[in-house]
Amino acid sequence: MSWFDAIINDIIILAKPSLFNIYFALASIPIGFLFAIGLTLMKASKSKIISGIASAYIYAFRGSPLFIQLFMFYSIMLSLNLSVWKPMGIDHIVLHPLFLGPMILILNTSAYSAQILYGAYQNVPKGELEAARSFGMGRVRQFLSVIWPNMIRLAWPAYTNEVVFLFHATALIYFTLPVINEQKDLMNKAGELFEKDYNVFLHFSVAALYYLAISFVIFLAFGLFYKYLMRHEAAAKIKKFKFSPKYIR
């Protein structure tokens, strides 16, 4: 088998495992985003207690490794198994990695996204807010028609980075949660292939190729949506969004 066939063969083998990574990302991004909006509003709240809780949550989840968070929540869920999940009869759902993985990712990504959204919230132009207030808009109206549209536009490039990072973080899930039967993600499968023929360069490179390609697709899709968001701006301004991510989480 020539090296080219070997690469093609690996690409075919790793196609199904890549779906698990995509599933983890797809399952956690939308809910994580909603959570992040809630956390942002909490952090921006005037009440010291509410904003304190949100800040502490964001700090804790941004300040500790996802690897530890995965282990910690998995072991917490395990220790609750006999007393809570078993009697309720939902233990096989709650402890399943396809449920637990996205759940922990949601906790993690909502903290990172909330930090991004909060940064955007603080940079909403003051003049527009004052204009909205002088029009006599209520607080909900203000948020929906002034704060939110500004926020999402300011936050989108950074949020794109966060989503790519989240996608990369899905590689960690099956290092901590149990692998059930053939439900293997890219890293598992690449490791398994490596143990068969010890060809580290081939298998890991193809896995890396998958990660690169999917990251690129995320950038493309999010870039298109950014273009849509910025459709009122001059074309020259939109061009700034290109495939040169900061990758700083």
Partner: protein
């Protein structure tokens, strides 16, 4: 546990104290050295690779720029854990390849096609220390790619007048780079570098994936349920408690790092006119 101490703090507390200072727990505390080493050595490697990458990105020679850009973009485009596992394995195989060239006979090579290592003599046994160094270097390579971008951006922010003045004094390009450009770049790079340090610290939790008995592996062992009195305290699954401790440990490290970087920024920002820096 001495009696006088038990009398002061009571039986329960004394038992607890005895438990968390037993031999296994001492091993756990000692294993923090791996994490600390990986953090510090990894950061030094990352800075080195980052500087090299940034100098390449800044180079006038097309090929160097290409290599720098490929390094900075490809490594950042894949998950850190993939590279973290890939590099030590690849390095090990590389060494074994050269060992095989000198140590193996032609017959052995022919008999072992498709196997690795090609012959028993070519096996390179890696202990904890070797893996630790390889892990730190691979952390350095991954976060060096991040650093390269940050440092490259910082080098662009240095005031052009400074460089022109250095050139006007008759310095050669290399001298301008080493004496003026790089020393002045740090202040602009500091915020980005502090971010990367936080990422690197969090990545040090991955050491157990390379068979290093680090804090995570010990937390897993110590927390596992124990039903034998001879082995120590009988307890159910306590892993979540140990992971909670690690969770708090990393938050504490982040907090202290933030403080340290804020101090550093204040200190290095002294005398800088540029408002953006402060």
């Amino acid at each position: 546990m001495p009696d006088w101490l038990t009398n002061i703090i009571g039986q329960d507390l004394s038992d607890g104290l005895a438990y968390i200072t037993n031999g296994k727990h001492m091993m756990w505390y000692a294993s923090f050295r791996f994490t600390i080493f990986a953090g510090i050595f990894g950061a030094l490697c990352a800075l080195t690779f980052g500087l090299l990458g940034a100098i390449m990105l800044n180079s006038n020679f097309f090929l160097f720029r290409l290599i720098g850009a490929a390094y900075a973009n490809v490594v950042r485009g894949v998950p850190d854990v993939l590279f973290f596992l890939f590099f030590p394995l690849a390095f090990e195989q590389g060494v074994e390849y050269f060992l095989a060239k000198s140590n193996c006979t032609a017959d052995e090579l022919a008999a072992n096609i498709g196997n690795w290592p090609p012959c028993p003599d070519a096996q390179w046994f890696l202990g904890t220390n070797e893996y630790l160094i390889l892990a730190s270097v691979s952390l350095g390579i991954v976060y060096g790619a991040f650093c390269a971008n940050v440092i490259h951006g910082a080098m662009k922010s240095v005031n052009k007048g400074q460089l022109e003045a250095a050139k006007a004094y008759g310095m050669k390009p290399m001298q301008v780079m080493l004496r003026v450009h790089i020393p002045q770049m740090w202040i602009y790079a500091l915020p980005g570098l502090s971010n990367i340090w936080m990422l690197l610290v969090k990545a040090t939790s991955l050491l157990s994936l390379l068979q290093i008995a680090d804090i995570v592996l010990w937390a897993d062992r110590l927390g596992a349920p124990n039903y034998l009195k001879q082995v120590g305290l009988v307890h159910p699954d306590w892993r979540w408690k140990y992971y909670l401790v690690l969770f708090l440990f990393y938050i504490l490290v982040t907090f202290l790092s933030e403080r340290a970087f804020a101090y550093l920024r204040k200190k290095t920002g002294k005398g800088m006119v540029d408002e953006a820096v402060l």
